[in-house]
């Protein structure tokens, strides 16, 4: 009995691959010759045949019916890490935009837009406000020759 088991162990792989027609012709002939002579290996071959038949018949996975088209939109191509990064970047941008809007609205409520000669109003307003930020903003709006005049006026 043990001898038969050992025989089965030794030939098992070749028997299975012979059934799968995955052996070289010379090896296949050896297996066929052995099967003719060995009852234990014939039994092994039969067991493998039944096992594969049962697996094929009973353990198949039925895929669901896919009706919706696959979403292959470019925005879904980015990997999760990049999507997270993009999310953070969007959030930061949103915060900056909101902060900017708040700043402008505050600026507009405290400093109404001048009518008439905005240049002289700017000089007055800079003196009144005295804030560096507003001062720089005004400087940016002036042409280079006006900047010199403006700085002289403010200094005086």
């Amino acid at each position: 009995m043990n001898k038969q088991k050992d025989c089965g162990r030794r030939w098992e792989k070749w028997i299975l691959l012979w059934q799968e027609k995955a052996l070289a012709p010379r090896r296949a002939k050896q297996v066929e010759a052995h099967l003719k002579a060995c009852a234990a290996c014939r039994e092994t071959a039969e067991e493998y045949r039944l096992l594969k038949k049962e697996l094929g018949a009973h353990a198949e996975i039925i895929a669901p019916v896919f009706t919706a088209p696959v979403n292959l939109a470019p925005e879904t191509f980015r990997p999760a890490s990049r999507r997270r990064l993009a999310g953070w970047a969007t959030a930061c941008l949103l915060v900056l935009v909101v902060a900017g809007i708040l700043r402008v609205s505050r600026f507009q409520t405290t400093h109404h837009q001048p009518e008439g000669d905005w240049f002289h109003f700017a000089v007055e307003d800079t003196n009144l406000a005295g804030g560096d930020y507003y001062y720089l903003l005004l400087l940016e709006r002036l042409a280079s020759e006006e900047q010199t005049t403006f700085l002289n006026l403010v200094a005086n």
Partner: protein, 173 residues
């Protein structure tokens, strides 16, 4: 092949990818996620597909990598199969249907307990009908290794059934 044709070709193979993912994970929802991720990855990297292998082989390989990643995330390889997965019963009476489902469930469970690479080799060979060369392509190994993985997988199943188990299984049918 332009983008539209490639996307169409991908969608034609999603059932196959789903079946492999389901076999590997045993969970319907994860299998759906893996299928979607696989198709997206394939479309994103479509220029890497040089047409040397079949499109299905390439998709299986991507799907298998996603399935491995999924199993790694769970840190759990051996999992029970999803109860929701039902076989389609055609022309069976309730008693036959029950017996069939019970047996199918037990066979699927046995397969689910195989190591991942053996499970993949057995699945691709038996249910998808791939040649050993193609199985080797999917598993990124040599053909002889694919044959050995397949053999070890089936041997484990045979041992699990016991000496008379296979014949019993046949007799119950």
């Amino acid at each position: 092949m332009d983008e539209r044709e490639f996307a169409q070709a991908l969608t034609e193979h999603r059932e196959k990818v789903y079946r492999l993912a389901m076999r590997m994970t045993g969970n319907h929802q994860e299998a759906l996620d893996i299928t979607q991720e696989t198709l997206l990855s394939a479309f994103q990297h479509r220029r890497r597909f040089r047409g040397e292998a079949r499109l299905t082989t390439w998709l299986y390989r991507i799907g298998l990598n996603h399935a491995y990643a999924c199993l790694k995330r769970r840190k759990q390889v051996l999992i029970p199969l999803d109860k929701a997965q039902e076989l389609v019963d055609q022309g069976r009476n309730p008693a036959q249907s029950f017996q069939h489902k019970t047996k199918a469930e037990s066979v699927r469970r046995m397969v689910a307990f195989l190591p991942p690479r053996q499970k993949a080799a057995v699945h691709l060979r038996i249910w998808e009908g791939l040649s050993f060369g193609e199985v080797a392509g999917v598993l990124a190994c040599r053909e002889s290794t694919a044959r050995t993985l397949y053999f070890f997988g089936l041997r484990k199943l045979r041992e699990r059934l016991g000496e008379t188990g296979v014949k019993k299984l046949e007799a119950e049918a």
